[in-house]
């Protein structure tokens, strides 16, 4: 271990890049959020004015409440369906490989592809509505996609469709990692299968559950691509999420300071979830 | 000409955790020295320091008269066999054996010759093209040794190389290692937690505990005259019988019984008030007169039989050759010679006589 400087030298570039491009830029963004920047960066200090503007903005309120609704539906739906799929697939099915491939393939797609496809499927005139009507339910209507109150649910549906397989893969790996002898002991003790799942297997999934929850939650907060493809934030800004809000402010509306402020809020949201989790993980590892 | 000189080695983690406490060890050229002790005693740490894989907090190490305390491993001209063998999975057996020579830019012809020579010595020529994954435990062990031998180093280090083998294989490989040493006469330091290995392989044994060497001597000496209570209990299987006794009259008493003592022992008692009296099972015989007891359990092992006997001195284990007539529940009398007893001071745990 004599040339002790060599390993350090090798990781130094990444260290420097991370320092500059992650933490340095975050700080810079932070400064922008405290400035009076509009179309162009303006480094005049403006205190918390941008944050005040942010929290007074009706559009941002919409974005935040959408975040809550979408977040809950997306995370809840993906976790629930993912867990169900994992349990179903854990039942020693012969076609497990094929089914797993089917459940997981949406993760290989871009959110833009998913958004484009679902936009067509949920198309008010020619999509789902038209299909069901052709099947006989003449009075069926499904115009959620263009309904300001309901459009956010469409995004949740598409999001869950894309991500449930991912959750399933994680839970399945967790289930498979449980020591077989524990299950056998329970069977010898006379527990039925549902009992075994409820009392033993699902509780042992707690660590997997939390790490998955964290990953899916942070995906939810970062959702941008899916919204852009499905509704572009519309109708109007009814399906705006913090990420699309930030993009709009920073790059189309010439409100760089405001955009930077919203980005900082997003960072705070993510950090609130990720940091405690990472901290507890890295501590346990010692 | 390769002696190893370990002087005042100390290893401390953080502020207070002392892993090695002032270790002094001189290994003569060509000697086979064993470091033995239970886990956590520091034997592997010490070995790693000799290898250069770990640095001491204080002290020095010299190999062949040269101070290597700050010399990197690859320049110490030593070879090491690890517990897990650490064979390179992506290379063939021949590749594994030749690797070190490759690193030293030895020309191909010489390398191949060395590989062949070593393979013949260890009888693994037929395995040269295989990858480690396709070998059995015993074969992997041999390849690991081959890798060390090919280097023709000044010093061999072994870190519990037999621990991962099953019992029968372990006995076989032990013999092979001993034979190899007799052939090559390379200075060797060998770490193990198995005291049978220590006794059979070593020219000298260092019994270690909690970062210190409790006794450094030949196997016979350690067996016949253990220097501390720990060494007495650690070496010898099954363990020595040890029970507390106190001064009574001009001798020792325990459980209302006067214990056999000879004059030399009596003289050595000195100021000690609380002592421990030790007897190895093979020295405890079932006789006509002696300490009375009742047989609790009889364990025949084939060539001999062990009997656990309940006496006023506590449970004593006796070893008898062949078969025993006595059965569980029988009353017996135990006798032994005074000179077979080992006496230790109860507080300092050091040998008294």
């Amino acid at each position: 271990m004599r040339a002790a400087w060599l390993p350090k030298l090798v990781v130094a570039p990444s260290f420097v890049l991370a320092l500059l491009f992650i933490y340095g830029l975050i700080a810079w963004n932070g400064y922008l959020s405290l400035s009076a920047s509009r179309l162009l960066p303006n480094y005049e200090f403006a205190g918390f004015q941008q944050y005040a503007n942010l929290f007074e903005s009706e559009r941002f309120h919409v974005a935040l409440s959408n975040m809550a609704v979408f977040g809950t539906l997306f995370v809840g739906g993906a976790m629930a369906i993912g867990l169900v799929l994992a349990i179903l697939l854990d039942q020693k099915i012969r076609a497990e490989g094929v089914l797993r491939t089917i459940y997981l393939y949406p993760m290989a797609l871009s959110f833009i592809v998913t958004g484009t496809a679902w936009k067509w499927i949920l198309n008010p005139g020619l999509g789902l509505e038209h299909l069901v009507q052709q099947w006989g339910w003449e009075s069926f209507s499904f115009d959620w996609l263009v309904d300001p109150d309901k459009a956010i649910y469409c995004i949740a549906i598409a999001g869950v469709w894309q991500s449930a397989g991912f959750v399933m893969a994680l839970f399945l790996a967790g289930l498979r990692g449980i020591d077989d002898s524990i299950v056998k002991a329970a069977q010898v003790d006379g527990a039925s299968l549902p009992r075994i799942y409820w009392r033993i297997l699902i509780p042992s999934l707690r660590p997997v559950f939390f790490s998955t929850l964290m990953v899916v939650s942070h995906l939810a907060i970062k959702s941008f691509d899916l919204v852009m493809a499905l509704t572009a934030g519309g109708p109007g800004f009814a399906t705006d999420l913090p990420a699309t809000f930030m993009y709009a402010m920073a790059f189309s509306r010439g409100q760089i300071g405001l955009g930077a402020a919203s980005a900082t809020v997003m960072l705070a949201l993510v950090a609130a979830i990720v940091v405690p989790y990472l901290y507890s993980e890295l501590r346990v590892k010692k | 000409m390769t002696a190893v000189s370990i002087r005042d080695i100390r290893k401390v983690y953080g502020k207070n955790t002392v892993i090695l406490d002032d270790i002094d060890l001189e290994v003569a050229s060509g000697e086979f020295v064993i470091l033995v002790g239970s886990s956590g005693c520091g034997k592997s740490t010490l070995l790693n320091m000799v290898a250069g894989l770990d640095t001491p907090t204080a002290g020095s190490i010299a190999i062949g008269g040269r101070d290597v305390t700050h010399v990197p491993s690859k320049d110490r001209d030593i070879a090491m066999v690890f517990q897990s063998y650490a064979l390179y999975p992506n290379m063939s057996v021949a590749g594994n054996i030749a690797f070190a020579l490759e690193m030293r830019k030895v020309p191909k012809a010489e390398r191949d010759a060395a590989v062949l020579r070593v393979a013949k010595m260890l009888q693994i020529e037929h395995l040269l093209e295989r990858k480690p994954g396709a070998l059995s435990g015993g074969q992997r062990q041999r390849v690991a040794m081959g890798r060390a031998l090919a280097r023709d180093p000044k010093l061999f280090l072994f870190d519990e190389p037999l621990s991962n083998l099953d019992a029968k294989l372990r006995v076989e490989m032990r013999a092979e290692i001993k034979l190899l040493h007799q052939r090559t006469h390379t200075t060797t330091i060998y770490v193990t937690h198995d005291q049978v290995e220590a006794m059979t392989l070593g020219d000298r044994i260092a019994v270690m505990r909690a970062g210190r060497i409790e006794q450094l001597d030949t196997p016979q000496a350690i067996y016949e005259r253990p220097a501390t209570k720990f060494v007495a209990e650690f070496i010898g299987s099954p363990s020595m019988n040890l029970f507390a006794c106190e001064r009574g009259g001009d001798g020792l008493r325990a459980g209302g019984v006067a214990l056999p003592l000879n004059d030399a022992q009596r003289a050595a008692l000195g100021a000690s008030t609380a002592l421990l009296y030790g007897l190895r099972p093979e020295n405890v015989t079932l006789a006509d007169h002696g300490v009375p007891g009742k047989v609790i359990m009889v364990e025949p092992t084939g060539p001999e039989t062990y009997a656990l006997i309940d006496t006023a001195l506590g449970h004593l284990l006796a070893r008898a050759p062949g078969r025993l007539v006595q059965r569980s529940g029988d009353a017996v009398q135990l006798a032994w010679r005074a000179e077979d007893a080992h006496l230790f001071d109860a507080k300092s745990e050091l040998r008294v006589a």
């Binding site: 990781v11 496809a117 499927i121 990953v215 | 690890f82």
Partner: protein
């Protein structure tokens, strides 16, 4: 277990229903892309094309309008290709070196460095978008493929490092020790021993990076110039152009074109993909 018991029947029904839910959008995409607009209007989402045609595919590739230009997805596809290959290669290479150091050559502060990088895996990119565009502007690569490549490499290093580091931690330390005793140094241990043992994680990382970078939209839309937009941006523009008549079949064909590369990789090397997911998210 009685194969035909009620439980198994219900189980299979559930499994198949879910499979249908997952497969339907893909089916709809394919089927719609093979129809002409008349068939689209007359039929419904699930109906098979009465007269299948690849015209939409041809149009999506070479003549569909994506804003002002009407050159189809082809230029965007090429941009993505030009961007993906170097970005994946460089970020993977750097990740493997970082992982090697962090797993086998620990030094005081290396765990801290790892934690620092780890944060980059989770941080929302929104928070560096604005400053990053400035930086790219200064470097003169703001509107070119190089800007995108740089961003993807930097953004990829935390994830690739995570994958390799976790994998290399699983390699026995004694291998490195044995090699050191044999006389190998830092680089030789890497090239002769660690790299040859890295095939599984290499594949996982390459697939993971390829999928993520190809599928990315956010950086593509923020950091690209007129001539360097990747396919996701092209697709989004195509599907959202407010031209007179919406050609859903072309939209679907375009979506398929964008999806095929990553889908193909997934089908061919799916199990590595799964390993990547579980390796990244479930620490271990």
């Amino acid at each position: 277990m009685n194969r035909l018991s009620v439980h198994r029947v219900l189980l299979w029904a559930a499994l198949l229903l879910f499979a249908a839910w997952f497969l339907t959008p893909l089916y709809v995409m394919v089927v719609t892309s093979l129809k002409d607009m008349q068939q689209v209007r007359e039929g419904n989402l699930l109906s098979l094309p009465s007269d299948p045609t690849l015209a939409s595919w041809a149009k999506a590739w070479s003549s569909a309008c994506t804003g002002i230009d009407c050159g189809g997805l082809k230029p965007f596809f090429m941009n993505s290709l030009l961007m993906v290959v170097p970005a994946v290669a460089v970020s993977t290479a750097i990740g493997s070196l970082n992982g090697y150091v962090l797993a086998k050559w620990r030094f005081p502060g290396s765990e801290g460095l790892f934690a620092m990088l780890l944060f980059g895996v989770f941080m929302p990119m929104q928070v560096v978008l604005l400053p990053m565009s400035q930086v790219l502007g200064w470097l003169g690569i703001a509107s070119s493929i190089w800007g995108l490549i740089l961003v993807h490499v930097i953004a990829g290093i935390p994830s690739t490092t995570l994958f390799f580091r976790n994998y290399y931690v699983g390699l026995p330390d004694e291998l490195v020790k044995a090699a050191m005793l044999d006389g190998a140094g830092f680089w030789r241990i890497f090239t002769r021993i660690v790299l040859p043992l890295s095939t599984p994680i290499m594949v996982v990382t390459l697939i993971w990076q390829f999928t993520n970078i190809w599928n990315d939209f956010l950086y593509g839309v923020v950091f690209s110039g007129a001539d360097s937009k990747p396919i996701t941006v092209g697709l989004n523009n195509l599907a959202n152009t407010s031209s007179s008549v919406k050609e859903y079949n072309v939209d679907m064909a375009a979506a398929m074109i964008a999806a095929l590369p990553t889908l193909f990789v997934y089908i061919v090397a799916g199990k590595y993909f799964v390993r990547g997911l579980t390796a990244g998210a479930v620490k271990g």
